[in-house]
């Protein structure tokens, strides 16, 4: 049911050092087994997956922590919910502009790909 650091690390393709680092940064908070090792549940694992996705999207660990706080936020406090909402909307705006840049880059790369393919086809029978 639970995992150790190295198991989780192997599972998600990261190093144990990185996981401990994330804990030190407050992104994870696995339980302990006496003086022994950390105990990771599937919730910890899910959280780490969120961290990794955030990283893949180019966010810093600090940003990811804020982002995780959005998940944990208590939706019963009116003022806090308002802050949460603002943050979420800001993040959505950022991601959407990032997506736009990404689409544009993809389009350009596809264009280059097409040109390269064409160039190959053209010289197909007249090799260097």
């Amino acid at each position: 049911m639970t995992m150790t650091v190295n198991e989780l690390a192997a599972d998600l393709g990261v190093t144990a050092r990185a996981i401990r680092f994330y804990e030190a940064k407050g992104l994870l908070s696995p339980a302990r087994d006496g003086h022994n090792g950390r105990v990771f549940t599937r919730r910890d694992r899910a959280r780490l997956l969120l961290v990794l996705r955030g990283k893949a999207l180019g966010f810093s660990l600090d940003e990811i922590r804020e982002y995780l706080d959005l998940y944990d936020a208590d939706p019963t406090q009116r003022a806090q919910v308002q802050v949460l909402l603002d943050k979420v909307r800001g993040r959505i705006a950022e991601l959407e502009s990032q997506r736009a840049a990404l689409e544009q880059t993809l389009a350009e790369l596809r264009d280059i790909e097409g040109q390269a393919t064409a160039a190959l086809a053209e010289t197909e029978d007249t090799p260097a």
Copy 2:
């Protein structure tokens, strides 16, 4: 028709230091005016824009340089074109998986937004 470092920097919202740094890294190669300053054309500006977009997408400067080389590549050399094509396709694959992660994150954030909005509406008449 041309610009100085600081003009370009102000124009695109980066520091002159960063621009010089990019040049040192081989991402830009503006002309010189005698012993005086760098001279940036609109082609240099366009190139810098590509750099900035790459950064926004989370690529390292080294990766961006490779990426820029794709633009500059000579499409008349068969072997080089093949390499180019492979690189481009690899990059496209990366970007598409990145886009998938982005879409998923966006969906989750929108979900949180909806819940927060609902929570606000519910306590609208019964404030804290």
